[in-house]
Every structure is written in structure tokens, then in C-alpha cells.
């Protein structure tokens, strides 16, 4: 198949799938539905009707929704060229990294292997962690040693060195996340097609920008790290928050100054956000906006496919939040808060909101 044919095929596939994405007002409508109706609407009836604890059902729902996303990913990457496929699979590797972090946390806390296994996602072969041996290790260092012999070798080696020096999962997980985004940025730079690269710079760059703003605020003002320590944890983005801008931002000494110094449109999006949860939510909205624009008017089939997957993931996460809220019988105010249907507030205000 020629490049144009690939693009046409992919565009058709994406256009067909995009009809499933939530539109304005959909979420408000779903909130009115009870658990059985939600199950019926999203094909989760069997899981929700089966006997079992709320935790087990919630887990099964999460796995089923993730399966939906990853099956769509498998279909969409099929016509892509190797480099493009590699980039989209690298994006999906976030789920494998969830598993890796679960394994690490489990091994650090010396949890029962069965308990760890129950908390892992079942992933397709393209994104899953290498082998069964990972489950048989007895501690975090052994796990990282084992990973050193696989495709995550450099990440594992550095993570192990960090963990051996500072026995804390935070540094480990920060290194894993940092490597994840850096890998995607590197893959974007390697794309040959200029149209695809331009669109991917914006899309992947927005993903990285979102992570950078959150990390910057959290590390600098939450964990009180120095500018140099904070900068080292960030990933220069190919879109807005490039290296020089990050160097300027980490030097600022409070949150409002950082937000005021952000480039547009990030600055105006976050200007009056007064807590991290609200910032996170607005950043999510910012990313969704970029993805919608790429999906509607993007020239590259691969870019549109990734935009669709980003939007689909966001939708499925919202759906999972709603179903979990129903399973745990949380008050509607909490669920609305988690879904972003009511303004974000600080933790101590939650009880009043409920």
C-alpha cells in the first residue's frame, strides 16, 4: 500500500471510530443514568451483573474499558509504518508502565505475588512487559536487574541506581515517567514525514507540556525541590515548554509567577486556577482541545489516529470514574467533582460539598 493509500485508509478508520467519542452534553446525560443503564449502554452489563465485590467489579470494568482502547489501538496501528507505529505504541506503553509501577510498589512493600498479579492489567503483546519472570522476582532490585536485560534496559539501570542510592519509590517512578515522555519526544523527532512530524510535535508536545506543568508545580512548590533538581525531572517539549522556557520557569519562586510566565494558551487557561486539582483538570481540557483540533483538521492520518486514541482514553477514563462512583455508592457531589462537572475544590471542602 502506498503512503497516500495508508493515509486514506487510516483517515477512514479514524473517522468511523470518532463517531463514538463523547460530545458536549453526553456526560451530563450519563450522570443521570443508573448502574444497569450504564452497563447496558457501554456493553458492561455482564460484568456489572455478575456477583462479586465492588472492588472486583470496578477492576473488571477498568480492564474491559482498557481492552476496548487497546483493541482499537491494535486496529489503528496495523496500516502504519514502523516509526509511526512505534510512536503510537510508545504512547500506549503508559499502561505497561502502570504495571511496572504496580510491580515495583508491590515488591518494595513485599506484597503477596497473587495480590500484585490481581492489580496488573492484561495487555496486548505490543505493549506488555517482557516476560513471566518479572512476576517471580522477590524484591525491587531483583526486578530492576531483570528489566536491565530487556528493552527497558537503560531505564531500569538508571532506576536501579537511583533506587539503590535512595530507597524511595518516588525517585524511581519519576525516572520511569520522565523516560516515557522523553522516549516519545525522541520518536517524534525521528519521524520522516514532515506533515506527520508537525502534527505530532503539537500533539505529543501538548502531552509533555501537561506533564511538565504539573511536575514543575508539584516538585518545585509541593516537594520543595531546588530549580536544578526540578529542571532535571522535566522533559523539554517540542511544542510550548521547550528547554529555555523550562529553565526560566523553574527559577521562579511561587506558583502564580510560574502560571503568569507560561506561554499562551496555557497561561490564560490556568490563570485563575487556585489548586492543583483544578490545574490538572484545565490541563486535561487543554490537551483535549488540541486533540480535537488535530482530529478535525489534521492532515496526517497517524496524527489523527493518536488524537483519537487520546480522546478515547479520556472518555473511557471518565466513564470508569462514573461507574466506579456508582459501584462505591459515592454521593453525586463527589462523582460530579471527579468528572469535572463541578468546579474543583480543596480536599477540606469536600465534605461540605457532599
Amino acid at each position: 500500500m502506498s503512503s497516500a493509500a495508508h493515509n486514506a485508509y487510516l483517515n477512514t478508520r479514524v473517522a468511523g471510530k470518532a463517531t463514538q467519542l463523547f460530545r458536549a452534553g453526553d456526560m451530563e446525560r450519563f450522570v443521570q443514568l443508573g448502574l444497569p443503564e450504564l452497563g447496558q449502554q457501554f456493553g458492561l452489563g455482564t460484568i456489572l451483573e455478575e456477583p462479586g465485590s465492588a472492588r472486583l467489579k470496578s477492576r473488571a470494568v477498568e480492564q474491559a474499558l482498557m481492552q476496548v482502547l487497546l483493541e482499537e489501538l491494535t486496529v489503528l496501528i496495523r496500516p502504519m509504518h514502523a516509526a509511526e507505529r512505534g510512536l503510537v505504541v510508545a504512547w500506549a506503553r503508559q499502561f505497561a508502565l502502570f504495571n511496572l509501577k504496580t510491580l515495583l510498589r508491590g515488591k518494595i512493600r513485599q506484597l503477596d505475588p497473587q495480590e500484585i498479579r490481581e492489580n496488573l492489567y492484561d495487555l496486548p503483546p505490543q505493549v506488555r512487559l517482557s516476560n513471566e519472570d518479572l512476576f517471580r522476582v522477590e524484591n525491587a532490585v531483583e526486578l530492576l536487574r531483570l528489566l536491565e536485560s530487556g528493552p527497558l534496559s537503560l531505564l531500569a539501570r538508571q532506576a536501579r541506581e537511583i533506587y539503590e542510592k535512595r530507597q524511595e519509590p518516588f525517585a524511581l517512578e519519576a525516572a520511569i515517567d520522565q523516560r516515557y515522555y522523553a522516549d516519545m519526544v525522541r520518536r517524534v523527532a525521528r519521524l520522516e514525514d514532515s506533515t506527520t512530524q508537525r502534527q505530532m510535535r503539537m500533539l505529543v508536545g501538548s502531552l509533555v507540556d501537561r506533564a511538565n506543568v504539573l511536575w514543575l508545580l508539584r516538585f518545585r512548590f509541593g516537594y520543595d525541590l531546588s530549580p536544578s533538581e526540578t529542571f532535571y525531572q522535566l522533559v523539554p517539549s517540542p511544542h510550548l515548554l521547550h528547554r529555555e522556557r523550562l529553565l526560566e520557569l523553574v527559577g521562579l519562586d511561587d506558583q502564580p509567577k510560574v502560571i503568569a510566565a507560561l506561554p499562551e494558551p496555557l497561561r490564560s487557561q490556568l490563570l485563575d486556577a487556585n489548586n492543583l486539582m483544578e490545574i490538572q483538570r484545565r490541563l486535561g481540557r487543554y490537551l483535549t482541545g488540541i486533540a480535537w483540533s488535530a482530529l478535525r483538521s489534521g492532515q496526517s492520518g497517524v496524527g489523527r489516529a493518536l488524537a483519537y486514541l487520546i480522546l478515547r482514553e479520556a472518555d473511557l477514563r471518565l466513564m470508569f470514574t462514573l461507574i466506579q462512583g456508582r459501584l462505591l455508592q459515592l454521593p453525586d457531589a463527589y462523582v460530579d467533582l471527579a468528572l469535572g462537572l463541578s468546579p474543583a475544590i480543596c480536599v477540606h471542602q469536600w465534605r461540605e460539598a457532599a
Binding site: 522477590e138 531483583e142 536487574r145 538508571q158 536544578s228 533538581e229 525531572q233 528547554r243 529553565l247
Partner: protein, 631 residues
Amino acid sequence: MLRPQPMKHVRILVLREDLPQASLTLADMESFHPDPRQPQEQQLTPLQDCRYQKKFQQARSRLDKIAQVVPVPEPDLSEIRVVGLDELTETNAWLGEAWNFCLEHQEGFRELEEAERLLDEEEAALANFAELHVDLGMLRTKTRFLDYYIGVVPRENVHRLEGALGLAGHLLFTYMERSENAHVVIVGPTGGKESELGSVLSDAGFQAIPLPQGLDDSPEAIRAEQRARRERIERERADLAEEVETCSSDMRERLARAATVLVLAEPFVSLDPAIRSAGQLACIAGWVPAKGVADLEQRLSETLSHGFSLDSRKPRADERPLVPTVPVRHRLLQPFAMLVKQYGTPRYGEIDPTLLFTITFLLMFGTMFGDVGHGAVLALLAWIFRKPLGRFYIFGVMAGLSSVVFGLLFGSVFGYKELLPALWMSPLYDPILMLQLALGWGVFFITLACGLTIYNRFAINEPMAAVFGHHGVVNLLFYLGLVWGGVSIALTGSFGLVQAGLVISSLLALAVYNWFHLEASLGEKILVVLIETLETVIGYVSNTLSFLRVAAFSINHVALMIAVLTLAGMMGAVGHVLMVVFGNIFVMVLEGVIVTIQVMRLQYYEGFSRYFSGDGREFSPLRLRRRPRAA
């Protein structure tokens, strides 16, 4: 050999305390395939106490990991005995210690590797410094105003580290790059920022290179010091290896005991999904070959200390997809069974295609690769390399012998026609006859495949599918009508009324059946029925023509050899010999591979896809693992 071995569903009721012994007996008999389905009795529930299973899993994993470091002896199964939870717990604890020992030593080896790597980097750095005309001794001590760090950083971290250090008022210079590391010098003002700097350097994977004392010594003295350090590393490595060797021989006996304990404990764990219990009573369900049920009952009565009950029954119709199929065990058919298994396992009740596959494979391979010399070489090579090929060598020997037989029929020895008189004729003497025979073979093969499809569908109680389904009775009637018509055209010049009637009526019957089994709108129904009917006609015609390749390759084989011998004839004495030898090797390798692929394609696509669902379950009985896992 074609019909599956009859199976029975067996349900054994035992006291819970007898479960480990019952598992061992079942494993020792190697005739019990566990059935994990939930029984109808609601009061029977899975075993709640999983301690045994958990201990076993951990111990097994530890032993497997140990086996990758030190050799684990074979288990001693001279005495088949029950392993209790206490013994298993004790074995697991010991294996934990043994694994920790292995882990510590592995870490020791890694640390030595790391030290060696750092020494390499240090040597490279000093070689680089040798070009500089500065007092390097100054770099080892911090000055009053300046802080120095010399070391290596992964290359991909350099740029970020440079930015981060800049924020802390330090400068980074890269003076050399080696493989994935960059050698850097970091300089900055002293005081205040050590901890901040330390944290960033640690996150960046910075490794300081220790500058040796006496940098102002002669290069020979420094090199001698480095050589001494390298020798020390080698010595430590040898000591560590010796220590591992000594400890592993000390552990040998204990490891053998642990391996034995795990092999004896495994059946109970493997059987766990098929065990249900209620109070003191436990129920084990599974599938057993009908002829082995009496032996199993006898053996259980000999080994169990309390009473038990064993019920057996024939599989119900709805259970057929769950019943395991016992694979063909004949030694000569083993390699062919492996090829059949690549496609799938026959469903219980279906005909096992291994024997048919073997016969048709050998016939087609021999026809397409018929040469006494080539066949003999193939068989001989398979025999010589029988060890690395394992059971697969039989495949090579039989394929080679088949070539020899057809070579005798065609009168060909390494392409020479004069050495042996042909028992029949060379394929090139009458290519039309060869093509006609291939076509006839194709008709026979497809008819046979359809016949097997029909039999299999009746066997698994799907009569409608047997009559109207793909490659069912109606399809076969259509095909035979078509072939009959084709033969009539060749002989008399006309298709024939009866033949046409047979073809049209069977196609109509298929169309009507499809029409009533399709749930779609009128337009879609018309479209689907038309396309499916057309596809039936095209499919059978093209599938039959597909067999022409059998003749084509047999002719091709002769033609290639003629080309080789013609080229050889154009050369001198030495050239002639070389051409004949290398030409034969070329033809054997190239054609051998192509013919094998073509025959497999005919088998899988024209044969298996018709009559062999391949979605059965292989009989996998509970058994004692008599050999340790490969390291």
C-alpha cells in the same frame, strides 16, 4: 489410528486428607486430564486453603531461578510419596536462602563488572588527559573557590544535566564520548549547593572517576597501578567463581532433595483447579481414556488409605468441545503429528488427520522431488544429524526415501537419466499426462477432504452442517457433477444434461439454504447469496487447478537438472565436476525448501481448511515432572 481414542468423564470422591495421595497416584498413572468446570452440586466449592499452592509456586520459582545460576540435579523419584505442607514450607525456606546466596554472588559478579567498566573509563580518561599540559593533581583536591567533578554520564542525560547544573551555577564540559557514556568535567563555585548537586548528579546516573594518587608519576607507574587493579578484579572474580562452585557442590544434595519435593508436590497443585470440596469430602473431575479407567480405579484402591468412589460416563454431546483428544503416539508419525499440531488439535470425535497427512505429504513430496540421489542425500543427512534434529529426523528420512522411490519410478539419479532405467517414465517425457494425473490427484484429494468434512460433522452431531454446510454433501455433489461435466467435455465435447442438472440443482439447494439462514435485508440477501454461490463455483475450480503444481514441480525438478548438466557439459573436467556438485546442492536446497512449502500449503489450505477445525484440546494428563526444567 484415524478414529479418536474413546474418552470417559471420571469423577472421584475422596476424603480431603487423601487428596495429596490421590493427586500423586493420578500423576503417576499419566492418564487423567483434569476438568476444572464447576460441578452442578452447589455445595461443592473450590479449596479455600491456598497455603500449599502459594508455598509451591514460590518454591518452584526459586528453584527455577537457582537453576539458571547453578546446576540442579535430577529429582530422585525412586519413592513416590506424599509431601506435606511442613516439608514444603521448610523446602521453600531453604530455597529462599539458597536463592539469596545466588543473588548475592550474582551481585558480586556485577559489582566486579562495574568496577572493570569504571577502570576502562578511567584508563580512557587518563589517556585523554595525557595530551593536556596541566597539573592533573590539582583536579583531585577541591580548591578554596572551585569545585571539580570528573566522571561519566549516560550520553542521553548530558544535555539535561548541563541545564540543571547551570541553574546551580555549575558548568559542564564534555571532553570525550565512549559508546553510550560521555566523559564530563563539572566545575562550579564551592559551598552551599553540594546536596542539591549530589541529588541531580545521582538522578543523572553520574559516576565519578577516581583520579589515582601520584598523577605526577610516570605513565608507566600509573599503568602498572591500573594493571594491578585489573588483576585484583580478576582475582576476586576467580575467588567468587570458586566460592560459587564450592557452595553449589555443597548444596547439590540438598538441591536434589528440594527438586524431588517439588516434583512430588506439583500434582496436587496442578490438580487444584479441578478439585471441589464440601466438608471432609473432596471431588476430583477429569477425562480418562476409556481403556484406562479400570486400571486407574485399581491403582487408587491400592494407594488410598480410605475409601473412595469413582464414577465414569461417556461424554455428553454438549461436552464434546471440552473433551481432550489423545494425540497419535506412533514413533514414525511423531514428526508429522507435530506439523499437524501447528495447524491445530482435532476436536474430540473428528478424524485425526495425522496418518492421512503423512501418506499424502510423502506422495506429493516424492512426486515433486523425485530423484534417487537427492532423496538418498536428504535421508542420509537427516540420519547423520538425528541428534540435533530430535524426533524430526524421521521426517527427513521418510521424505528422502519417498524421493528415492519416485526417483526409481522416474529413473533419475542426481539428474542423470542413464544410470538407472526408469520403472515408469521421466515427468518431462509426457508433461500433459503428468498434468492430467495431478488434476486427478487434486479431484481425489478434494473429494477425500469433503468426505472427511461430512464424516466429522456427523460425528460431532451437526447433520445440517454436514449436508448443507461448506464442503458438505451438497457441495460434494456439486463438485462431482462439475468434474463429471469437465470429463465429459474432454471426452465428448459436451457437458452433459445429467451433469448440468446435478450442478444446477446442488447450487440451487445451497442458495436456498443460505437464503433461509441469512438474517439481512432483501437486497443484502440477494447480494450475499449470489456472491457465495459464485464463490463456491470459483473456489472448487481454482482449488482443483491448484494441484497442477504437483506436476509442475516434478517437471521443474527434471528441467533444472537438465540445465545443470547442460552447463556442466559446456565446461572442462574440473568445471564439470564442480558444476554437477554445486548445481545439485543448489537444486536440493532451493527445491527442497520450495517443495516442502508447497506441499504444506496444499495440505493446510486445500485439505485442513476443509475438514479439520483444529480447535480441539490436546490430552494433557497430570504427570510427574521427571526431568528438571532446562536452565
